[in-house]
Amino acid sequence: MLLSLYTVLAAVAIGLLIAILTYRSRVRADFTIATAAVAFTLPSVALFGFLVSIVGSNLLAVFPVLVLYALLPIVRNGIVGLQSADPNVIDAARGMGVGGFRMLWQIRLPIAWPVILAGIRVSTQLTVGIVAIGAFVQKVGLGTYGYDALDNLGSVNTQNKAIVCILFVTLIALVFDAVFVVIRRFTTPRGARA
């Protein structure tokens, strides 16, 4: 569970940075989104396997894959959100003398925030699921129980382990989702609320 949290935090930092660097130019933004989509097409199992064969069975083979997957929704929603600010609003802000950095920080980011948050939410859900799959590389998280069950089909504890895996992964996903509902309520600027 902590691993999912770290992953999402890393992905948010990297994803927003990429979005901020690329949203201005249409070509760069399209290229970034297309690249992320291709990365997303690659199955997580394959990427885990790929990294395991290079760095061996440790966290180094898990974390980058997780971050890569978590990136796509954040980057895409970040770019789309930052581009979506009404040109009139931007114009008005410029007329009030708002410059480059403040434009981004005080105008574009707050307007894009609901969209970005939705992206982060999707990527959290994804991460919780993929962390479970990554357990075959390094025994971390609830996926361990899932693989234990799969490897010992028919033994006494198979059913218990499978149920532990299902229930707790679902539970964590729901808890994260609830957290996002709360975050959204408290961090969306009043004017941008639907």
Partner: protein, 270 residues
């Protein structure tokens, strides 16, 4: 993935819309096939050839050569394709009618229930579900059924979004021409929703290709068994090969499905 999450298109859809929009501008009438379609298979082929050359130069030990020979790899790949395509077809057969059902006026009330079922199906980890069902039944069908439940949501969501995205004016015009409700659905709504539904189907297919390996213990075939076997016997070369093959398979199937989707899209909105 809470139940009351509003219906939103699947993650792949916006990119799809993006390309559609671009295509619209760049050429008025786009053929089903374009030169650009050759890029993906060419790159994949390049990687696979490189991999093949590299592997055939290496000295393989017994375990490695037992996995990495032409017959067993071909078998596993074909099974993998067979299982994934079965899942994708089954998903379409279940999720598209369900999506149609919940967008009709009379049965609209069912929408929350259907979406809730699909949401639970996707939120529950496929890994645990496979283990749980594996206690009672193994083989082709258990894996296919579980993974169908797992990937049905993307098609369901996109069917709903696609059908609801059809312009009201177009529907009015169709009705004004005297079309029955069924005719409007079959000849107007569904064709117009093909790009969105297709995007969902591609997501489901890619999901299937990626999760079939997790069914390795349920004897459904596919590339999962060699992959997990290689990890457990600590054979990085084999792990690497199989991982690249799974990735290549996912890219190629997505590519093929993309072409299929374009072929199914009516000319006017292609």
């Amino acid at each position: 993935m809470s139940v009351e999450t509003p219906v939103q298109p699947d993650t792949e859809t916006p990119t799809q819309d993006e390309t559609l929009a671009v295509d619209f501008k760049s050429s008025h009438r786009r053929n089903v096939l374009a030169w650009r379609d050759l890029v993906t298979p060419a790159l994949v082929a390049l990687v696979l050839v490189g991999l093949y050359v590299d592997i055939s130069r290496r000295d393989l030990d017994t375990i490695e050569s037992n996995v990495l020979n032409r017959e067993s790899l071909t078998d596993a790949t074909l099974q993998h394709i067979y299982v994934s395509v079965s899942i994708a077809v089954l998903v379409m057969l279940v999720a598209v009618p369900a999506g149609i059902l919940v967008t009709r006026r009379r049965t609209r009330r069912l929408a929350p229930a259907v979406l809730a079922v699909a949401n639970v199906g996707q939120a529950a980890p496929s890994l645990g579900l496979l283990a749980l069902v594996g206690i009672y039944a193994i083989g082709f069908w258990p894996v296919v059924l579980i993974l169908t439940a797992y990937s049905a949501l993307s098609v369901l969501r996109n069917t709903i979004v696609g059908l609801e995205g059809v312009d009201r004016g177009v529907l009015d015009a169709a009705r004004g021409m005297g079309m029955s409700a069924a005719a409007v659905l079959m000849r107007v709504e569904l064709p117009l929703a093909v790009p969105v539904i297709g995007a969902g189907a591609r997501t489901a297919l890619v999901l299937a290709v990626g999760t079939v390996p997790l069914g390795y213990a349920l004897d459904a075939g596919g590339l999962g068994l060699p992959l997990f076997g290689a990890i457990k016997t600590n054979r990085p070369v084999v792990t690497f090969t199989i991982a690249v093959m799974i990735a290549a398979l996912a890219l190629l199937m997505d590519w093929a499905a993309g072409i299929l989707q374009r072929a199914a899209t009516p000319k006017g909105i292609r």
